[in-house]
Symmetry: C2
Subunit: 252 residues, 2 copies
């Protein structure tokens, strides 16, 4: 029986990432969270604040993967156009979500200005959408079919992911174990290739580093099967030991 | 006369980014470097270590933009398949570059094992390619037409970018100025929209933050025209002052 693998795409929306001004933190955050849900992040696209570009990326990834996540562009300002782009991608109108409006009314009741027109933008959703709770600030995330629209600010996105935990169907989580070596990866390349070839259900990634004036690498073995993973890690450690390399189980 | 805008795409290659294990640093690094060259990073795709997925992304972005950069997958191990994927995308064979071979022979001459077959993998290039110098370690980057293949390890990529500085034709650099406010962005959304509408050659991005228990936002005005940029920033500051908001030129 072939195991069902659940996949996701992520569209990161924002000129600030593409200009280098802001270092993205959402890719790693969403990736790690998805791992725990048994879902594999399979592709990320970073696109600018331009409707057509967002529409194109959203359509490509929502059709290509089981789930689509977006980060960025759901705030109150003129450059927040994710809702409009997703509605266009789906061919549905943008409507004000009554519950989102109620949340914002309550949130802004005691704040200067109250619920202004700009703030009310954050209650706009593509027709048919549900809300993703946001415990950090007023404006909720948005869920529609397999699409999940989240904030750009990482700690707000974290709260939204937390609210989604356990609600998405996933498969067996991809397990991983790391073995580290204070050795250039090029010296152990043959061992890595041979061990991976002998364990069809495992992948081995080699991640070199340069620290404290020395080179080394971490080898990450990944599999959805705990037994295969253990056997592959054992073979790798045997191979390294036999060839006379020192290694550190757990990674360096 | 319409100014020519030079654009670039970036393909980040690596399972380690998509698993959340490694936090990407190359997007921001490449983006910032491109800004200085007068080239705009217009799209990023992060794809796994799978030939077909790399081919697809490389073909989409090399045709869509003036320049294509890739990071990752040019090392000596079995999961380093970027050269093969790019050769397949271009329909050319993979060959050993004599100069790359000479560099690696020299680099590994005094190292244990010498120039092994695995290390020789790093001299493989798509036919017709030139090398991008790598002053940090042996293996060079690769340049072929509008495509630039660079390392995944950020400090090695930094050296390769340095070697490329000033060699790519670019347009007027995108200039930016920032104004910060300890105010929720939703309170100034109308001002931002009006000021941007009045300055057709400028874009304003609004980037909210939460620090020291208070919310605020930085407004980044971008333009290739210094005069327009200054006039837009002045209008924004006037608008904020007139409405009674404190603001910090230069950003918070």
């Amino acid at each position: 029986m072939t195991e069902r693998i659940y996949t996701a795409g992520l569209v990161v929306i924002g000129d600030e990432i593409l200009s280098g001004r802001t270092h993205d933190k959402n890719i790693a955050q969403v990736a790690s969270w998805l791992q725990v849900q048994g879902i594999r992040l399979s592709e990320v696209r970073v696109v600018p604040d331009v409707i057509e570009r967002i529409v194109e990326a959203v359509n490509a990834l929502r059709e290509g993967y089981d789930y689509l996540f977006t980060t960025g562009g759901i705030g109150p300002t003129h450059d927040d156009i994710t809702v409009d782009a997703v509605a266009e991608a789906l061919g549905v109108p943008v409507v004000v979500h009554p519950q989102a409006r109620a949340i914002l009314e309550k949130y802004y009741a005691d704040k200067p200005g109250g619920l202004t027109e700009a703030r009310l933008r954050m209650a706009r959703v593509p027709e048919g959408a549900e809300l993703i709770p946001n415990r950090m600030s007023g404006a909720p995330g948005i869920k529609l079919g397999n699409i999940h629209l989240m904030a750009g600010v990482p700690h707000i996105t974290a709260g939204m992911l937390d609210a989604l935990t356990g609600t998405l169907e996933g498969g067996a989580p991809l397990l991983s174990e790391t073995v580290g070596c204070w050795t250039p990866e090029s010296e152990v390349a043959d061992i890595l290739r041979q061990v991976e070839q002998a364990h069809a259900k495992c992948q081995i990634g080699s991640y070199p580093f340069f620290r404290e004036g020395r080179v080394g690498a971490n080898f990450v073995v990944r599999s959805t099967d705990e037994g295969d993973l253990k056997s592959c890690v054992d073979s790798l450690c045997d191979g390294l030991a036999t060839a006379g390399f020192d290694f550190t189980p757990g990674g360096i």
